[in-house]
């Protein structure tokens, strides 16, 4: 920042007098210094770059503006009730988003429940346990999971995961855990459980890559100090690494949550798309992103469209809050301020 000041600011700003001095008197002392050129191109360039930067601001502003103005109709018709009613009836113009909010939250939390232990395990293995030569390939392969498009996850889930759940996993769960009420009903395969599992697979690389990042940021001395006290490797990881990195790991988990909340295609393809609130995870559900994906281009009637945009607005706000929270948490660890142990 100080270095930028060295070269540039001197060239900006109207300074016609020193310019002449440079060309005439200082030319001998500093032979390489050519006459200072016109400042106009510099100014145009910096303005153009500023314009690009402002574009980013404008885009987010535009997103918020579009979502708010296009959902007005539904907001005026239903108000806050919109989020607490479970009736979604386009024919009679009755719209309540509760089943979608429920589906989004349940599928996302289910995904986190499955993904977090795995992701942290993977991160621990890669950073602390694996042989050096295996580290980079493992990191690359897990990150490859993040590069697979959501529609391909969905395709795989429809033809591989869902039949597997229907034939083996769900009957087994129903038989032994059916009494909990979470696993009862006919095992269709398609439903909340399938959506949660496919989301978990998609969230693991995000959580594990952030976890790895913050674990690497923990100073090596921490590990050495704990080991020197006679700790086993696991005790070292638990007290020396995980405890110091926990805020960042939590940030990674929340970032994963943000991804799960907004995920559309894979979930739409396996969740069953029925706006019901059911206790059983075998039952079909619906998420906020799925209902937009399925019904937006077929929405007839202004209120219908506005209701869908309002669902979008709610989803937008939810993911933004979650993401900002995550950024702050990751930031506290990677900016060299380890979380205090209590």
């Amino acid at each position: 920042m100080a270095n930028h000041a060295l070269g540039a600011p001197r060239l900006t700003g109207p300074q016609p007098v020193p310019k002449k001095e440079v060309t005439e008197t200082a030319a001998q002392a500093v032979p390489l210094l050519k006459p200072v050129r016109s400042e106009l191109p510099d100014r145009i360039f910096s303005l153009a770059m500023l314009g690009c930067g402002l574009c980013v601001l404008a885009l987010v502003g535009l997103i918020i503006y579009e979502l708010i103005t296009k959902s007005q109709l539904s907001w005026h018709a239903f108000g806050w009730k919109f989020f607490f009613q479970s009736e979604w009836d386009p024919v009679n113009n009755q719209f309540g988003a509760l089943p979608f909010v429920y589906g989004t939250l349940v599928s996302s939390f289910l995904a986190l429940l499955l993904a977090v232990p795995l992701a942290v395990g993977v991160a621990v293995f890669i950073t602390e346990m694996s042989p050096r030569w295996l580290r980079s390939p493992l990191a690359f392969t897990t990150e490859l999971l993040a590069a697979i498009p959501s529609v391909i996850y969905g395709l795989w889930a429809i033809f591989v995961l869902v039949p597997l759940l229907r034939e083996y996993v769900e009957p087994w769960l129903g038989k032994y855990l059916g009494w909990t009420g979470l696993f009862e009903g006919a095992p269709y395969g398609i439903g909340m459980l399938a959506a949660g599992i496919i989301l978990a697979i998609m969230v693991v690389p995000i959580v594990s890559s952030i976890t790895r990042e913050v674990m690497v940021a923990v100073p090596q001395q921490q590990r050495e100090a704990v080991l020197a006290l006679g700790a086993t490797r696991w005790e070292m990881i638990r007290t020396g690494v995980l405890r110091n990195a926990r805020a960042g790991i939590l940030g990674g988990i929340i970032l994963g949550l943000g991804r799960a909340l907004g995920e559309t295609m894979a979930v739409t393809m396996v969740i069953g798309n029925r706006p019901d609130i059911a206790k059983s995870l075998f039952a079909p559900g619906y998420t906020m992103a799925s209902v937009i994906a399925n019904e937006f281009s077929e929405a007839t009637g202004d209120t219908y469209l506005a209701a869908l945009v309002e669902v979008g607005l709610a989803l937008f706000l939810l993911t933004i809050i979650v993401n900002i929270l995550a950024q702050i948490l990751v930031w506290t660890v990677t900016r060299g301020q380890p979380a205090r142990a209590n």
Binding site: H4, P41, V60, W234
Partner: protein, 297 residues
């Protein structure tokens, strides 16, 4: 530094032996972590395995050169969808790459102030916006204005999604360029804009390209924002103002259809899409491993 080795050595020096419980716990956690790796890699292998197994037999000349057949007829291909994806990605790059790089230059070279922080924060927010929301916005600003679905609308949606990734990557790479390089240029009397473009950006070229490719790979398989922007099409289309097919859309439509032949083609399309994306990501990995500042020479 294997901990077991360390504990063994400690015992050599007469330290108290580690209790069986602590050893067992250590071993259990090590096994559990290795198990987690296996469990995470299983779906990856399963997905790639299935893609290759199901897809490779369905990729033939017809698939790559023909348009879809009407419902019920066997055969046909996804040629128009492959071309459509290329068209939409081209439009997205035209929109996203210059703005993304420009904003990155602003952040790195001029953005050490409050406005810069605000833009940096906003770029991160934009990065977290669900793709389906971007689709709604592109629908609002392009489709409603034009009055119909179009490739342009799809390009705008994907372009918006490319910007934050490219911005942050460009900024990061430009900040890696040593200030001495800039100062050397200033010292020779080179103007600031020229320094930024021909010296700084040039030096960081491979890093910036990495960012662009990552953004490209990220949006190449996007489906949600195209559902109500590009919309899809059964025919050849090169007009950016008309609805256009895309590989990802076609995979989605075919996957949820009840026809076996369409399922077969969905797998083939998915294989082509993943090869495209993995090639892009691997190229990035390769370029990145050769040093971020390679563009210097």
């Amino acid at each position: 530094m294997a901990a077991s080795g360390i504990t063994a050595r400690m015992e050599q020096f007469g330290a108290a032996p580690i209790s069986i419980y602590r050893r067992a716990m250590n071993g259990f956690v090590t096994l559990a972590a290795a198990g987690a790796v296996v469990l995470v890699l299983t779906p990856l292998l399963a997905i790639f395995g299935y893609l290759v197994y199901k897809g490779i037999g369905s990729i033939n000349l017809a698939f790559l050169t023909q348009t879809p057949k009407p419902v019920g007829e066997v055969g046909g291909g996804m040629a128009n969808a492959i071309a459509g994806t290329a068209l939409i990605l081209l439009l997205a790059s035209i929109i996203g790459v210059p703005i993304g790089i420009g904003a990155g230059i602003y952040l790195a070279e001029y953005g050490r102030n409050r406005l810069g922080n605000l833009i940096r924060f906003t770029a991160d927010v934009l990065n977290g916006v669900p793709s389906i929301i971007v689709g709604i916005v592109a629908y609002g600003i392009v489709v409603l204005t034009q009055g119909h679905f179009s490739a342009l609308a799809g390009g705008v949606a994907l372009g918006i999604m490319m910007i934050p990734t490219i911005t942050r990557a460009t900024e990061e790479m430009l900040l890696l360029v040593p200030n001495a390089v800039r100062e050397a240029a200033y010292g020779l009397g080179v103007s600031r804009w020229r320094t930024t473009l021909s010296i700084t950006l040039r030096t960081a070229t491979s890093g910036v390209i990495t960012g662009v490719m990552l953004a490209f790979a990220r949006v190449a398989g996007e489906t949600a924002p195209l559902l109500f922007t590009a919309f899809g099409n059964q025919y050849w289309n090169w007009n950016i103002n008309q609805p256009t097919a895309a590989l990802s859309l076609q995979i989605y439509t075919y996957a949820i259809s009840p026809f076996d032949d369409w399922h077969r083609q969905a797998w083939a399309g998915a294989l082509i899409l993943i090869v495209l994306i993995v090639a892009a990501v691997s190229a990035v990995r390769f370029a990145a491993s050769r040093g971020t500042l390679k563009g210097a020479n």
